[in-house]
């Protein structure tokens, strides 16, 4: 498939190019909705489509006014602030608990391993609306509903499975004899952990942390139920914006978030390569 052999028949050639075109269209379907919002966010009008001026590439068709609105509107600024307050706290909780547990789970003898794994992974499996409903009922019983910590705890719980999965994956290639070597030379378990194990698994920990961060940063269902007006996050503000009065500022916010995803994707890819190199799975 990769290259058409010189002896290919006409039918094969036709099929080869049809297939390529079809794949191209699917890739277009995947990427077009994300790319289209970028130019639209610079629209000088309050429309959600390309104006005549934009299509003619006239400068008066474009402006930064939606970005300006985002950076000056108190609603959006409050939402941004809340997101920036909640996501890192949830990430730290999820990453520290998750990394410890992943190290425990990768030891050779863990009783009830599959049962424990099922419980720890469950926040990723259970549909968000069910988690949100359960958390809403339970957290209002114990007075956490509508509080900052309620949202942080909930988001941390939702993020932990990703940390577990990425860190256990990194630990698969980890050579346990390194730990034994460190211990035999007199290092205590804490020193061994920070000096030997941690540097080797750090790519997994960081990418797990990024997953946990993006889980919290993008999460809207749980915060919609658990949060009160004081915990309104960016996705929440976008959700209400889309449902009620749809303003083009959303496109500016969306474009900024696409930029964040691109940065995250690049960092993760770099980490993956580094981790594979460290574990000797691929030659640089």
């Amino acid at each position: 498939m990769s290259a058409l052999p010189p002896y290919a028949s006409t039918g094969q050639k036709v099929w080869h190019y049809t297939f390529r075109v079809a794949c191209g269209l699917i890739f277009f379907f995947l990427i077009f909705p994300i790319l289209v919002i970028l130019p639209l966010s610079f629209n000088a009008q309050d429309f959600f489509t390309f104006t005549k001026e934009m299509l003619a590439f006239k400068p008066e068709g474009y402006s930064f006014k939606h970005y300006q609105d985002f950076f000056t509107n108190p609603d959006w600024q409050q939402a941004l602030k809340n997101s920036v307050m909640i996501a890192p706290a949830a990430t730290i909780l999820a990453t520290s608990f998750g990394t410890l547990a992943a190290i425990g789970l990768s030891r050779p003898h863990v009783p009830y391993r599959s049962a424990i794994m099922a419980i720890l992974i469950s926040p990723m499996i259970v549909p968000l609306i069910i988690s949100a409903a359960g958390m809403y009922f339970f957290y209002s019983r114990i007075g956490l509903q509508g509080t900052y910590w309620g949202v942080v705890l909930a988001h941390a719980a939702l993020g932990t499975p990703f940390v577990i999965i990425t860190v256990t994956a990194t630990l698969v290639g980890f050579d346990q004899s390194l730990v034994r070597a460190a211990a035999s030379m007199g290092a205590n378990p804490v020193t061994t952990f920070f000096k030997v194990q941690m540097p080797l698994i750090i790519p997994g920990v960081v990418s797990g942390g990024l997953f946990a961060f993006i889980t919290s940063f993008d999460e809207v269902v749980v915060v919609l139920f658990l949060g009160s007006a004081g915990q309104k996050t960016l996705p929440w503000q976008m959700f209400t914006g889309l449902r009620e009065q749809i303003s083009p500022t959303i496109l500016a916010v969306a474009s900024l978030m696409v930029a964040i995803s691109i940065v995250l994707l690049t960092v993760l890819e770099g980490l993956r390569r580094r981790s594979e190199r460290l574990r000797g799975l691929s030659p640089g």
Binding site: M1, S2, F19, A22, I26, F29, L30, I31, P33, I34, V36, I37, F48, T49, F50, F97, G98, L100, A101, G104, L105, R107, P108, V110, I116, M117, A118, I119, S122, P123, I125, P127, I129, I130, S131, A133, G134, Y136, F137, F138, L153, A157, L158, T160, I165, T168, I214, F217, D218, V220, V221, F239, L242, R243, A254, S261, L264, L265, L268, R272
Partner: protein, 420 residues
């Protein structure tokens, strides 16, 4: 090493039997692992598993009737609804006593709204009676209640009260399956009141449609990526991973912008002359909108597992088939495709699990015909405040997801979940 037969037991240096010593080391090792896992396990149990358990409990819990009207519930035990007669004076006396307490605590309106889910009109009945009950100090109570509201003279009212007096009820589950308990026993609700079975059915149908379209679009992409040289496929992979990493709300907003009647796609179609300005396509706030947007959102979840399976299929099998005279199609269909089936299974189950629990996208682009059962759950939590019903619907949805997940575990295995 001991030479004599009596001292066969191996010992460690400090004289302990080796077996015991090893067992102790193993125990310690297990304990150490558990100590590392414990913080997260406790954390997840408290912040996640307990809320889910609370929800399961709420779907059957029904202590409000007995808590608010303890004497009445007690007195009603001897009453037989099939007799067709309203209970006698002792029950009304108990009700009067209970209601007087309840009115002071203002709990009678809450009970009214609870029972109103089962039978409309009870909420106003309790409110109305609550205002009069203070004046009922002397027997006969029955007459005064009947004067306050005729509904106290109807067997239906009492039947509802008796039916929901136990501490636990299956009423919420019956409601979520469009069934109810009447004087003639268990039966389906009248057809015009059936909504949940329809909604469950629609959730299933739409999820299947989304899974199928993800498969149709995802299979060629995964196939292409697995065939291309690594350098090219890594580049193209970015086109799959970028949507995967982009916020769900960003993608939903994009579709909202694209699919609107005054949106980009309609503008384009009008511009090239495919449709006239007057007949712009309605692609949003209906099922089409939900299917298109969710296919786009879930497509990476189909491509990634398919790709990882296809990567492991050795090209030599297809080459062998072709050298034995198979046409391209036969070689693909009889040799390559069967080997990719595990990937299809994994991807399809994953997409389906994610689809049936979706809330945000159907809410924003689904209108009324494209919403899922989860939107109804959200409605009951935040608008109608019928938490019990929301919990029962959630429990049913959870059960469906769990069954699917066990299937997924059998196909892929929990430990093999990979990200990116």
């Amino acid at each position: 090493m001991s030479e004599t037969a009596t001292e066969q037991v191996l010992t460690t240096k400090d004289g302990r039997p080796l077996k015991a010593s090893l067992a102790r080391a193993l125990r310690r090792e297990k304990l150490r692992a558990l100590v590392l896992i414990a913080p997260l396990l406790i954390f997840v149990l408290l912040t996640f598993v307990a809320p889910i358990a609370d929800m399961l409990f709420r779907s059957v819990e029904n202590s409000i009737v007995e808590d608010t009207l303890p004497q009445t519930v007690n007195a009603l035990q001897d009453w037989d609804p099939s007799s067709g007669e309203v209970p006698g004076e002792p029950v009304f006396a108990a009700l009067a006593a209970d209601l007087q307490v309840a009115v002071d605590l203002k709990t009678h309106t809450r009970l009214g709204s609870r029972l109103n889910y089962e039978k409309t009109g009870i909420s106003s009945l309790f409110r109305k009676t609550g205002r009069r009950v203070k004046k009922m100090t002397e027997p006969p109570y029955k007459e005064q209640f009947l004067k306050a509201d005729k509904k106290w003279g109807q067997v239906d009212t009492w039947q509802t009260l008796k039916q929901f007096s136990p501490r636990y009820t299956d009423g919420y589950f019956l409601s979520s399956l469009d069934a109810e308990r009447t004087s003639e026993g268990l039966q389906m609700k009248p057809e015009d009141e059936q909504i949940y079975l329809l909604l469950f059915g629609r959730t299933m149908m739409l999820s299947i449609a989304i899974t199928v379209s993800c498969l149709l679009l995802g299979y060629p992409i995964a196939f292409l990526l697995a065939q291309l040289p690594l350098r090219t496929s890594n580049l193209l992979m970015i086109l799959v991973l970028l949507p995967f990493w982009t916020s769900l709300l960003v993608r939903t907003s994009a579709w909202k912008v694209l699919l609107q009647q005054q949106g980009v796609i309609n503008d384009f179609l009008v511009w090239i002359g495919l449709i006239s300005d007057a007949n712009r396509l309605v692609m949003i706030n209906n099922q089409t909108g939900t299917i298109i947007a969710m296919t786009h959102i879930l497509l990476p979840f189909m491509i990634l597992p398919l790709y990882s399976v296809m990567k492991t299929i050795s090209p030599t099998y297809v080459r062998a088939a072709k050298s034995l005279g198979a046409t391209d199609w036969t070689a693909f269909w009889r040799v390559y495709f069967p080997q990719s089936v595990p990937g299809i299974g994994a991807g399809a189950v994953l997409v389906f699990i994610l689809a049936i629990g979706y809330y945000i996208t159907p809410e924003l682009v689904g209108g009324t015909s494209g919403i899922f059962i989860s939107n109804r759950i959200a409605y009951h939590i935040s608008s109608s405040l019928n938490w019990g019903l929301a919990a029962a619907l959630g429990t049913l949805l959870l059960a469906a997801v769990m069954i699917l997940f066990i299937v997924y575990d059998k196909i892929v295995g929990i430990d093999n979940v990979k990200l990116g």
